[in-house]
C-alpha cells in the first residue's frame, strides 16, 4: 500500500475517486474562504468597534438591503452548484456499468466472505484491475457497512435484502476494507482486503483457489477456517479474541459460564460449531452466530473439527 501525500484524502484508486476528490476539494476551498472571511471580519469588528468607555451608546445600525441580498444569493448559488454536482456524481457512483464482473459478499459478525461465480470463496476480495466489479451484498446478522476508503465507496449491508456497490480499480495493489456500521464487540476489527490483479493473474488465482477434492480433511478445514470466517474470532496462536483460540483447544478441559466443565473432544467441537450458544466458555460472551449448521455441510464440519484437532 502506498504512502499518502495529502493530509486529507487517501490516494485515489478507483475510476470515480478522482471526481469525488475534485468535488471534495472544491467544497473545502470554498469553505475555507468563507470561514476565513467570517472569522477575520469577526476579529476585525471586535477590535475596531471595541468599547472605549462604559458609557458608549452607539447609534443603531439597521440592515442594508443590498448586503442582506448578497448574503442570501451568493451562498444559495454555491450550495446549488455543489448540490447538483454532488447528486450527478452520486448517480454515477450508484449505477454499475452493465459489463461488471459480479461477486457475492456475505457479512457477518465479524468477518467478510466473497463468493466468485466459479464457486471460489475467499476472505479477502480478489478482483481484476481496470474492470468494473459489482458486489451483491447481504448480511447474516446485523447491519454492516462495506467501505473501501481508497475507492470512495460505501454501502450498508443488510440482512434479508441485497445491497450493491461497484468500483473499477485503477491500480494493482492491496486496499483496506472496513466495516463502518456499528455491529458489536469486534466491529473495529472487521477488516478485509481488496487485492487487485491483472486480468491474467486474476484468472489464475480463480483456478488455483478452486476447492480440490484431493485435499485431506484437515487441509480442507484450514480453508474453511478462513472461508467461513472463524479466523475473525478464533486465533491459531493462543491470543484470545472474541472467541477462544484454537491453539491447544482439542483435548483441553473447558470451564463454562454456568459453572460446569467438559473435555473438548470431537463431539464437543462439533456441538460448539453448530450450536454455539449451548455452552459458553468462561470469559467469553454468547456472540458466535448460530447458522453454521445450515451454511456448512456435514463434511465441512468434520473437516473443520479435524483442523482444530491439529492445532
Amino acid at each position: 500500500m502506498n504512502q499518502q501525500n495529502s493530509i486529507w484524502l487517501p490516494e485515489a484508486a478507483s475510476t470515480i475517486a478522482g471526481d469525488v476528490d475534485t468535488l471534495f476539494y472544491f467544497i473545502l476551498v470554498t469553505s475555507v474562504i468563507f470561514f476565513v472571511g467570517v472569522v477575520s471580519t469577526m476579529v476585525f469588528f471586535a477590535w475596531r468597534f471595541r468599547r472605549r468607555s462604559p458609557d458608549d451608546r452607539p447609534k443603531p445600525v439597521y440592515e442594508n438591503k443590498l448586503v442582506e441580498a448578497s448574503w442570501i444569493v451568493i451562498p444559495s448559488i454555491l450550495v446549488a452548484v455543489v448540490f447538483v454536482w454532488g447528486f450527478r456524481l452520486f448517480l454515477e457512483i450508484g449505477i454499475a456499468p452493465p459489463n461488471s464482473y459480479e461477486v457475492n459478499v456475505t457479512a457477518r459478525k465479524w468477518s467478510w466472505s466473497f463468493t466468485y461465480p466459479n464457486g471460489v470463496i475467499s476472505t479477502d476480495l480478489h478482483v481484476p484491475v481496470n474492470r468494473p466489479v459489482k458486489l451483491r451484498m447481504s448480511s447474516e446478522d446485523v447491519i454492516h457497512s462495506f467501505f473501501v476508503p481508497s475507492f470512495r465507496i460505501k454501502a450498508d449491508v443488510l440482512q434479508g435484502r441485497y445491497s450493491y456497490v461497484w468500483f473499477e480499480a485503477t491500480r494493482q495493489d492491496t486496499f483496506l476494507i472496513a466495516c463502518t456500521e456499528y455491529c458489536g464487540t469486534s466491529h473495529s476489527n472487521m477488516y478485509a482486503r481488496v487485492v487487485t490483479h491483472s486480468q491474467d493473474d486474476f484468472e489464475n488465482w480463480l483456478v488455483e483457489n478452486l476447492p480440490d477434492d484431493s485435499l485431506t480433511p484437515a487441509q480442507r478445514g484450514e480453508l474453511l477456517y478462513t472461508q467461513q470466517g472463524c479466523i475473525g474470532c478464533h486465533s491459531l496462536d493462543g491470543t484470545a479474541a472474541a472467541g477462544p483460540s484454537f491453539l491447544g483447544l482439542a483435548g483441553s478441559t473447558r470451564n463454562f459460564t454456568d459453572g460446569t466443565s467438559a473435555v473438548a473432544d470431537d463431539n464437543y467441537l462439533r456441538t460448539s460449531i453448530v450450536n454455539p450458544a449451548l455452552q459458553i466458555v468462561e470469559g467469553y460472551l454468547n456472540v458466535m452466530p448460530g447458522q453454521y449448521a445450515v451454511t456448512m455441510s456435514s463434511e465441512e464440519i468434520d473437516a473443520l473439527v479435524a483442523f482444530i484437532n491439529e492445532q
Partner: protein
C-alpha cells in the same frame, strides 16, 4: 425594584421548599444541578473513550467495555444534557422574566416535567448499574438492538419517560409566550432568546412523540416478538432508522436553536447594538423548526434508501442550511459600529461563531451526496457533529450561563478565571475535534475501539489520535475550572448589581440583583425593543449626544 434582602432564593427555606417549588426560577436551578451532574458524567465517559484511543491497541478498556462507554456517553450527552439543558435551565429561568410574566403558564406542569426528567435519568443510570450495560450506541439501530440484552429496554424506557419532560416543557413555553407577555411586549419586541425557545417548543411538542412511539415499538418487538424492525421476525431494519431520525434530526434543532437564541442576546448586549436581521433571525427559527422535519433522510444516504429520496433530502438539507449561514453573517454584522465589550460571555459568543461556522461548513460537506458516501460513519462525521453539538449548543449554554449567572445567583465570578478557562476550552476543543476531520477523511470509521490496522497505511493516525486525546484533557481541565470558579463565586464572589452588563431586556432592567419570588413588583410596561439601546435612558441615564 425588589428589596435585595428578599428574593426567590431565600423566600422559602429547606430542601422540600425546592422539591415542591413551582417557581420557574427554582426549577431552572434544579435543572442546572441535574444537567450539570450528567454533563460531568458524560464528560468523564468521553475522557475514557479518548484515553482508549490515545494509543493504538487496547489500553484501558476492552472492546465491549469501550462499546458500552461510548453508548452511555452518547445517551447521557444527548438525552440528559444537550436536549434538556438550555430549555430546562435558561428557558425556565429567563423566558418568563424576559417577557415580563410572573411565571410560566402551567407552573405545576413545569415541576412535573422536572420530575419526569429525573425519573427517566435515574432509570437510565439504575438500569445501567443494576440491569445491564447497553452497547448499541445512542442510536439503538435494529436489528442489533433487537438482539441485544434486555437492558436496552430499560434505556429506551428511560428515553421514553424523559421525552415527556421535553414535551411538557415545550408546551409550557409555547403557551407562556402566547398568553403571558407583559403589556407592550409585542411579537417584534420579543428578545431573540425567547423567540428561539418558542421555536424549540414547537419542535419538542411535534417531534418528541415520534421517538416515544419508536421506543414503544422496539419494546413491543423485543417483548412480544412482533416483527416490526427485526428482519428475522419479518420486520424492516431501515424503518427503524427512518423513525429514529424523524425525531433525532429535529432534535438537532431542539439542541441548537436555543443556543442560537443565547448568541443573539449576547451579541446584542455585548455589542450594545441592534441585532442585525432581528426579524429574519426570529422567523427563521420558526421556519427551521418546521423544515427540520423534512431532512431526516440525510442520515441514510448509504443505508439503502432510494436514490431519489437521497437527492430530495440532500436538496432540503441545503435549503435549511442557507438561513443558518445568514444567521452567522447577521451575528457578525451586529458588532458593526457597535461597542464591543469582550467579557467572558462575549468570548463564548465569538467562540460559538468560530466553532459553529466550522460545524456548519462541514455539514455542507456531508450534505453533498457523492462526498457523503466517502465520509459517512467516519470520524469526519464525529468531528462535524461535535462542532455543532458541543461547539454550538454547549458553548452557547456555557456563554448563557456566564451571562445570566449574576441574575441567577446574585454573585459575580472571577473574570480572569473566566477568560483563562475559555482559552483552555477553545484550544482543547479544536485540538480534540479538528484532528478528527483528518482521521475521518482518511477513512477511520466511527465507534472503533482500535485503529491499529490503519497504522500500516497511515502512520500519522497515531499522532493524530494522541493529539485528539491530549486536546480532550485540556478541554476537560477548562470545563472543570469553570465548575470550580462558579462554585467559588457562590460563596466568595462579589455581589452582582441588578444589571452588570448594561442589557436592555426585562430580566435585567426590571428586577433586583436576584429576582423576587414573583419576579416583578409591578407588571412591566414595555415601550421599546429588546435591543433598542439608544432608547434605553432608564439603563444608561439621559444622554443627549449620540
Amino acid at each position: 425594584m425588589s428589596d435585595e434582602s428578599h428574593n426567590y432564593l431565600n423566600a422559602r427555606k429547606g430542601l422540600w421548599s425546592w422539591l415542591s417549588t413551582t417557581d420557574h426560577k427554582r426549577i431552572g436551578i434544579m435543572y442546572a444541578i441535574a444537567c450539570g451532574a450528567f454533563f460531568l458524567l458524560g464528560g468523564i465517559l468521553a475522557t475514557f473513550v479518548r484515553t482508549e484511543l490515545g494509543e493504538p491497541g487496547e489500553t484501558i478498556l476492552g472492546q465491549d467495555q469501550y462499546n458500552q462507554v461510548f453508548t452511555l456517553h452518547g445517551v447521557v450527552m444527548v438525552f440528559l444534557v444537550i436536549i434538556p439543558a438550555i430549555p430546562g435551565i435558561l428557558g425556565n429561568f429567563v423566558l418568563p422574566l424576559q417577557i415580563g410574566a410572573k411565571d410560566v403558564a402551567f407552573p405545576r406542569l413545569n415541576l412535573a416535567s422536572w420530575y419526569l426528567f429525573m425519573a427517566g435519568a435515574i432509570m437510565a443510570v439504575c438500569g445501567w448499574l443494576f440491569v445491564g450495560k447497553v452497547d448499541t450506541g445512542w442510536t439503538f439501530y435494529t436489528p442489533y438492538s433487537s438482539g441485544a440484552s434486555n437492558a436496552v429496554l430499560w434505556l429506551t424506557s428511560a428515553v421514553f419517560i424523559a421525552g415527556f419532560a421535553s414535551i411538557f416543557t415545550g408546551l409550557n413555553f409555547i403557551v407562556t409566550v402566547h398568553k403571558m407577555r407583559a403589556p407592550g411586549m409585542t411579537w417584534n419586541r420579543l428578545p431573540l432568546f425567547t423567540w428561539a425557545i418558542y421555536a424549540t417548543g414547537i419542535v419538542q411538542v411535534l417531534a418528541t412523540p415520534v421517538i416515544g412511539i419508536t421506543m414503544v415499538l422496539l419494546f413491543l418487538e423485543k417483548l412480544l416478538q412482533i416483527g416490526i424492525f427485526d428482519p428475522a421476525l419479518g420486520g424492516d431494519p431501515v424503518l427503524f432508522q427512518h423513525f429514529f431520525w424523524f425525531y433525532s434530526h429535529p432534535a438537532v434543532y431542539i439542541m441548537i436553536l436555543p443556543a442560537m437564541g443565547i448568541i443573539s442576546d449576547l451579541m446584542g448586549t455585548f455589542s450594545r447594538q441592534h441585532v442585525s436581521g432581528y426579524t429574519f433571525i426570529a422567523l427563521s427559527s420558526v421556519a427551521i423548526a418546521f423544515l427540520g422535519f423534512l431532512v431526516w433522510g440525510h442520515h441514510m444516504f448509504v443505508a439503502g434508501q432510494s436514490a431519489l429520496s437521497s437527492i430530495i433530502f440532500s436538496m432540503l438539507t441545503f435549503l435549511i442550511g442557507i438561513p443558518t449561514g445568514i444567521k452567522v453573517f447577521n451575528w457578525v454584522a451586529t458588532m458593526y459600529k457597535g461597542s464591543v465589550w469582550l467579557r467572558t460571555p462575549m468570548i463564548y459568543a465569538l467562540m460559538f461563531l468560530f466553532l459553529f461556522t466550522i460545524g456548519g461548513l462541514t455539514g455542507i460537506m456531508v450534505g453533498v451526496l457523492a462526498v457523503d458516501v466517502h465520509l459517512h460513519d467516519t470520524y469526519f462525521v464525529v468531528a462535524h457533529f461535535h462542532y455543532v453539538m458541543m461547539g454550538g449548543a454547549l458553548i452557547g449554554l456555557i456563554g448563557g450561563l456566564h451571562y445570566w449567572w449574576p441574575k441567577m445567583t446574585g454573585r459575580m465570578y472571577n473574570e480572569t478565571a473566566g477568560v483563562i478557562a475559555a482559552i483552555l476550552v477553545f484550544i482543547g476543543f479544536n485540538l480534540t475535534f479538528f484532528t478528527q476531520f483528518f482521521l475521518g477523511t482518511k477513512g477511520m470509521p466511527r465507534r472503533y475501539h482500535d485503529y491499529s490496522e490503519f497504522l500500516e497505511i497511515y502512520p500519522e493516525f497515531a499522532v493524530l489520535n494522541l493529539a485528539s486525546t491530549i486536546g480532550s484533557y485540556i478541554l476537560g481541565v477548562g470545563l472543570v475550572m469553570i465548575l470550580v470558579y462558579a462554585l467559588y463565586s457562590l460563596f466568595r464572589g462579589p455581589k452582582a448589581t441588578a444589571n452588570p452588563w448594561g442589557a436592555c431586556t426585562l430580566e435585567w432592567t426590571h428586577t433586583g440583583p436576584i429576582p423576587d419570588e414573583h419576579n416583578f413588583h409591578d407588571t412591566p410596561l414595555v415601550t421599546r425593543g429588546p435591543y433598542d439601546y439608544h432608547l434605553a435612558d432608564d439603563v444608561f441615564g439621559k444622554k443627549t449626544e449620540s
